[in-house]
């Protein structure tokens, strides 16, 4: 037997104490009110007669005592919440794995699933009898141990909190004799065979934002839209109060009736003016999980990009950029250029002596040592099919006639479009310290200024340089970012540690919110939300039926045993009161 609310010895002590207190209270002579009678003469005769009923009196007293003790024990059981015995099945090294998915934060019956799992994990660790215990979570893998020092395990448990981690590999510890997994089964974790699963699942209603994103509308460049999906995972309809806030302005705040199990999807038109930060919130009466009640989104393209064009004669570039409302262009001569806070710099047939700190588009750059070695010039190069790269998305190379081009060969330069003879026509640099696009040909050496691809390729380049995209919607957990990522800042302002794996950067997003990504001088934003049908639907579990019964005890209807214990205690109290009123019990 283990207890969901406290260690075994405390629980047993409480139950024994409650029973003893009930007996003591039952037997305690409460000083009754005094009643003066003329004489006890006749009462004594009555008592003598009543003594003939001693057996009946004894039975009544025994029944009353049993009811009182049962009532006390039922209440004590309701507090201690006993469950199946949680001890290591066999002696030896024990691995305790805690499900750290967000659904473990669901509130039910005076605590969260996580708190119940932690209590049971503590009880299990305490019952290890000096054997080694290892602690792991589905998100973090091995956290502590194996160790026989329970204090270390306790301390490690104190540090833990749900942080998503869906899809993380199953933690493994060599030499483990038994593996205990405390989970609600919300996320189907690929547990290793032989794992003893302890369910902390209880079906509870919830309302969640399962999708929230914002984007510029395809219909026009001066407006955008947000997409919001809210689901009522409850057995009854609810009036859900939905708020949408942009920056500091509340766009709307109104109740939305949502039927049981219904998903409400809504597109919200957005003006391009206003803040880029969007927050959606829901509130509902039956709502067990708080973390999926708020979602964030970043509206891209709200603020115009500051683009500096460094050229002696910008020509067609000036015509193009000055007409674009999403760009705030400025033009300087190469001799006057000083690095500033612009989002993107365009160097037209010029190049600074030092590599620019800001993302840059180079058009037919002259030779520069930091850029690489210029290749030989190729006359009338013929485009090959370009690589799939955001800079060339939507560009038809057949419409571009290049009279001459010169490529560069340098470290970090990645050609994304070549000529038939291999001359790089378009290259990119995607490094942590710089981010650049290099066109190997000048606008004047091609028909680019008049080709339909001109605004596309320039727009793509500026967008890729100034507004790198990291995906519309992400979940907490591991995330892959471009290798150029130099820093990742969490919503609370703390830096997130990055792991470099080849040409990618891997990080773990442990909380929902807006993350800031710095890469090669550009800055992007990642919106991370918890809302997900797998997490937010707290009425379901992937555990088998026998696992639906919570380790803390659960009845046939899914309610925990302690609720039945409380109900039983109330029934007993009512029966006792009723019978006492009628002098059936004493």
């Amino acid at each position: 037997m283990s207890f969901g609310a406290m260690p075994v010895w405390q629980a047993l002590l409480l139950i024994a104490g409650a029973a003893a207190a009930a007996v003591w209270l039952f037997r305690m002579k409460i000083r009754p009110p005094r009643v003066h009678v003329p004489s006890l003469l006749l009462w004594r005769r009555v008592f003598d007669q009543v003594r003939e009923l001693t057996w009946w009196e004894r039975i009544r007293r025994a029944v009353s005592l049993a009811a009182t003790v049962a009532l006390a024990i039922a209440l004590a059981l309701a507090v201690t919440r006993p469950g199946p015995r949680l001890t290591a099945a066999s002696r030896g090294r024990t691995l305790i794995v805690l499900d750290s998915s967000w659904s473990m934060l669901a509130e039910s019956g005076g605590g969260t699933r996580w708190e119940r799992a932690v209590r049971q994990a503590r009880a299990l660790a305490a019952s290890s009898g000096g054997e080694e215990v290892a602690l792991a979570t589905t998100a973090d893998g091995l956290v502590e141990g194996p160790t026989s020092d329970l204090a270390l395990i306790e301390t490690a448990i104190d540090r833990l909190a749900p942080s998503g981690g869906e899809g993380a590999p199953w933690p493994r510890v060599a030499g483990t004799d038994s593996v205990h997994f405390f989970t609600d089964g919300a996320v189907d974790t690929a547990a290793a065979p032989g794992v003893i699963v302890h369910s902390v699942y209880e079906a509870v209603p919830n309302v969640a934002i399962t999708a929230f994103a914002a984007r510029a509308a395809t219909s026009g460049i001066s407006s955008g839209e947000a997409f919001l999906e809210i689901v009522n995972y409850a057995a009854r309809p609810q009036d859900v109060r939905v708020s949408l806030i942009r920056g500091t302005v509340t766009l709307f705040d109104q109740p939305v009736p949502i039927a049981a199990g219904e998903a409400v999807r809504q597109f919200v038109p957005l003006q391009m003016s206003g803040g880029a930060r969007l927050v959606a919130r829901v509130r509902a009466p039956d709502n067990a999980l708080a973390i999926d009640d708020e979602a964030v989104a970043w509206m891209p393209g709200v603020d115009p990009l500051a683009v500096t064009v460094v050229a002696d004669a910008p020509g067609p570039l000036a015509d193009l950029l000055q007409r674009d409302p999403a760009i705030r262009a400025s033009f300087v001569k190469p001799a006057d250029y000083k690095p500033g806070r612009e989002d993107v710099v365009i160097f037209d047939r010029t190049i600074p002596a030092q590599a620019p700190a800001r993302p840059a588009l180079f058009i037919a750059p002259p030779a520069a040592g930091w850029l690489g070695t210029p290749a030989s010039e190729e006359k009338a190069p013929r485009w090959l099919e370009p690589d799939a790269h955001p800079v060339l998305a939507g560009v038809d190379p057949l419409t571009i006639d290049v009279r001459r081009a010169r490529g560069y060969d340098g470290q970090g330069l990645v050609p994304i479009a070549r000529s038939e003879r291999g001359t790089p026509l378009v290259s990119v640099i995607d490094a942590r310290d710089r981010r650049a696009v290099i066109l190997g040909f000048a606008i004047g050496d091609s028909n680019l200024a008049t080709a339909p691809a001109f605004p596309v390729i320039v727009g793509n380049a500026i967008e890729w340089l100034g507004r790198p995209s990291y995906g519309m919607l992400r979940r907490p957990g591991p995330v892959e970012l471009p290798g150029s990522t130099s820093a990742l800042t969490a919503p609370d302002g703390t830096p997130v540690s990055l792991s470099h794996a080849g040409d990618r950067v891997v990080a773990r997003l442990t909380q929902p919110g807006l993350y800031q990504v710095d890469a090669g001088g550009s800055r992007g934003v990642i919106g991370v939300n918890v809302g997900d049908p797998a997490v937010s639907n707290l009425m379901r579990t992937s555990l088998p039926n026998e696992g639906r019964r919570p380790a803390g005890g659960g009845g046939g209807s899914g309610r925990p045993w302690w609720m039945y214990a409380v109900g039983f205690a109330f029934v007993l109290a009512a029966v006792e009161w009723w019978t006492w009123q009628r002098r059936i019990t004493v």
């Binding site: 409460i30 009643v35 003066h36 006749l42 009555v46 009543v50 002098r583 004493v586």
Partner: protein, 290 residues
């Protein structure tokens, strides 16, 4: 308690007589026939004249007819000794019960005084207390009222000891009225037997309060014996209350049967019954008053 009767009620009382089954010899002339032949106004019988008889009572008309000297005898009207025993033990502490008992004694006393009887009030508890003889004449009733008003309950009930003390003095036989709840731990029988054996015409007035008869379902209480101070924790269930009610009824019936067996008058005067009804109706129906 103010023991005062309305004038109308007092007038009604004056028409009442305390009825004794027997005639007792009194000491003073009064309006009650005595067993003794004497100087009364009512002719009773003749007897042969003998020397020394008062020749004024010779019936000369009978001598003319019978040629014998016959003496006319008359019933002498004398007073009746009335002993009113009032239980003033702690068992009578309940105000309603003790007030009823005192009113009964006061009323009987007034009736006796109105008919020039010699009334003696004898409060008792564990023994006899100071007895009071108010004298003769109804004007003395106010002294009786004052005495009864001052009276307080104290001590336990011991009928046997009280009547033993009563018997220890030579007293003229008469009417003895015992007003009590008869909750004597030693039993009421020994005491009443002593009183009956003294030749008195005994009347028992059983005073009971509603709580004596039916305590009700009190629940868990601590009983305090008013006389002994004994404590007893009892859960007075309805069943127990019913059992007590039956025990009290048996006690009452035992007292009544005892009185019947020993030719003692018995009347029950409930404390919650209207006092005038007790005196004017119950006592008359019980042939105690006429």
């Amino acid at each position: 308690m103010a023991l005062r009767f309305e004038d109308d009620f007092l007038k009604k009382l004056e028409y009442l007589h305390v009825v004794s089954k027997r005639a007792f010899a009194g000491q003073n002339r009064a309006d009650r026939l005595a067993r003794k032949r004497g100087r009364g106004m009512e002719f009773a019988d003749h007897r042969q004249y003998s020397a020394g008889d008062d020749f004024r009572h010779i019936d000369w008309k009978a001598y003319q007819r019978l040629n014998r000297l016959l003496l006319r005898l008359f019933d002498e009207e004398q007073d009746l000794p009335i002993y009113l025993f009032l239980d003033a033990s702690r068992s009578m502490v309940e105000p309603a019960k003790f007030d009823q008992a005192r009113r009964i004694v006061a009323a009987l006393c007034y009736i006796g005084l109105a008919h020039l009887d010699r009334v003696t009030i004898l409060p008792f508890g564990s023994g006899l207390r100071d007895e009071t003889m108010p004298g003769r004449g109804k004007g003395r009733i106010f002294r009786v009222f004052e005495m009864l008003e001052r009276m307080e309950t104290q001590g336990d009930t011991d009928l046997r000891e009280a009547f033993k003390q009563f018997a220890s003095r030579t007293r003229q036989t008469g009417l003895a009225v015992v007003v009590s709840d008869f909750l004597d731990p030693r039993g009421f029988e020994p005491g009443l037997k002593i009183l009956a054996s003294m030749g008195h015409d005994v009347f028992v007035v059983h005073v009971a309060s509603p709580s004596d008869r039916d305590p009700g379902s009190l629940g868990e209480v601590r009983f305090v014996d008013a006389e002994t101070g004994e404590l007893r924790d009892v859960d007075v269930t309805p069943a127990l209350a019913d059992a007590y009610g039956a025990a009290w009824q048996r006690h009452s019936e035992e007292l009544e049967h005892f009185c019947g067996r020993y030719n003692l008058g018995y009347l029950r005067a409930d404390a919650d019954a209207p006092f005038e009804q007790v005196i004017l109706s119950t006592f008359r129906k019980g042939r105690f008053l006429a």
